[in-house]
């Protein structure tokens, strides 16, 4: 059952530049209201005001919710004009946000479960909040983060606060050289894998999980419009051949549901 959605003006309290491609925005509700209960893996729809070339909202996954400061963290990749505008927001700037959206990762875990959270590029974003939520549930999540090179490994220190972190870089500048699927982490037997990153990476990870018969959930990203399940633009074809909205039936899917 989807939780109640809100449209809030939020104020930028911090905007950290992460390399040339990414930004970490921290936002609090401008009216001081408490952030709604949000599940790991859910996303928000951000309005891009004052941009001549951006008309629609941009879906951004929830990176973390800091209950102490009532702030929402968004890890943003400068993919185009809209996200570029967003990462340029100065402290004190107001941004309209619709949240929480989507289904989120499933939390039906046993404390004894060994859980691997695999992220690639900006796809690591939702895994931070997921890691915290899994710790709260009594688990000890481990992370496997992949990137082109060391410079693209985002928020490493934040992940290390939550659990053991394995790394893979294509150029070997950090962690093991190669793709995440080749990482020695996979020598361990996991009970479940949560994955978010580029489509080829997610499919490769899903294949490994399938072969080893491990439960695997992936968080999909595609071109969204409303984020509410009304426009039917952001569809994904499921294994049963039916189109479903990534914004409402997803963004998280068990790979068994997908025709992968």
């Amino acid at each position: 059952m989807a939780n109640k959605k809100y449209m809030l003006d939020m104020t930028v309290t911090e905007n950290k530049v992460l390399g040339s491609l990414y930004g970490l925005l921290k936002l609090v509700p401008s009216d001081g209201s408490k952030l709604p209960l949000t599940r790991a893996g859910q996303f928000v729809q951000v309005e891009i005001a004052d941009s001549k070339t951006t008309y629609l909202r941009r879906p951004i996954s929830v990176n973390y919710i800091d209950e102490a400061t009532n702030s929402l963290w968004l890890l943003v990749r400068k993919a185009g004009e809209g996200t570029r505008h967003l990462t340029a927001a100065s402290v004190g700037h107001k941004i309209n946000v619709i949240l929480p959206l989507g289904n989120g990762f499933s939390m039906d875990v046993k404390t004894s479960d060994r859980l691997l959270l695999v992220g690639g590029g900006v796809g690591v974003a939702p895994l931070l909040y997921l890691g915290y939520k899994l710790r709260e549930a009594g688990c000890e999540p481990e992370f496997l983060l992949g990137a082109r090179s060391a410079a693209d490994l985002l928020m490493l220190e934040e992940f290390e606060k939550v659990g053991k972190v394995y790394c893979s870089t294509e150029d070997g500048s950090a962690g093991e050289k190669g793709l995440v699927t080749a990482n020695s982490a996979f020598n361990t037997r996991y009970d479940r894998i949560y994955c978010c990153g580029p489509m080829p990476m997610m499919k490769a990870v899903a294949a490994v999980a399938k072969e080893k018969n491990i439960e695997c959930e992936v968080s999909l990203e595609n071109r969204m419009t409303c984020g509410l399940g009304a426009c039917l633009c952001c569809v994904e074809k499921k294994a049963d051949g039916h189109n479903v909205c990534v914004c409402t039936e997803g963004p998280v899917f068990n790979t068994k549901e997908l025709p992968w």
Partner: protein, 301 residues
Amino acid sequence: MVNLSVELGDLKLKNPVLTASGTFGYGEEYADFVDLNRLGGFIVKGTTLEPREGNDYPRMAETPSGMLNAVGLQNKGVDYFIEHIYPRICQYKSEIIVNVSGKCVEDYVTVCEKLSDLDRINAVEINISCPNVKQGGMAYGTTCEGAAEVASAVRKAWGRHMIVKLSPNVTSIADIARAVEDAGADSVSLINTLLGMAVDVERRRPYLSTVTGGLSGAAVKPVAVRMVWQVAKAVSIPVIGLGGIMNGHDALEFIMAGARAIEVGTANFIDPSVTMKIIDEITEFCERQGVEDINELVGII
């Protein structure tokens, strides 16, 4: 106290603000942001005889002040609507209008016959202008004969209010409007989307799986207002205006150009509560300008 209620022939609306088919789901999707009972009405997703999966992804591309879509009438079919959706939404006190599409005339007729059993459905919007389906859709909407054929067939099967939704992708939309008026339409709504296309230059391919799609949003407003003005002068049945309405000011442009009611579409995607604001802004305008009845402004130009 300004009167916002309008009459589309026999169809009475508490205010002129409707939501456009395909942009508002079945209403429920917006319940967290909108008081559905405050709307003049909402027009639910395009409904067909059989379930439709719609087109392949990608279905959307952002364009300057607008967007292209190629959803292709994805819906679970009229029977599913009657059994599962209608029972949930018939509680709302706003008019519920069903947008009907078909790949042949018989489809339109059969869907409307099935809808006749639903006592809360006082009107259907006959979609002869969907640019995103191979059969039917816009094919009917681009000739007077095709448009009249669908309209008169539905007219025989459907006794309540029949809105015909017109395509802007024609040389003379006024001629099409006259044709459906003669065929028995109770009102016309316009414009459906303009056929458009966008290219992903880096990948050297179209953004949409269907190459072309329907353009909507603020960008199309000037074309829509013009067509509403032309059609309102050409027919005597009420005109419902839509196309890029983002706020109350835009809504008033359509009303002054001749629209008795308006539909809000793409704006719902950007601000899900926009319909409430539009009702408020129209009210404020009337109060400021001393207009006691919104009907005074209809077709003032």
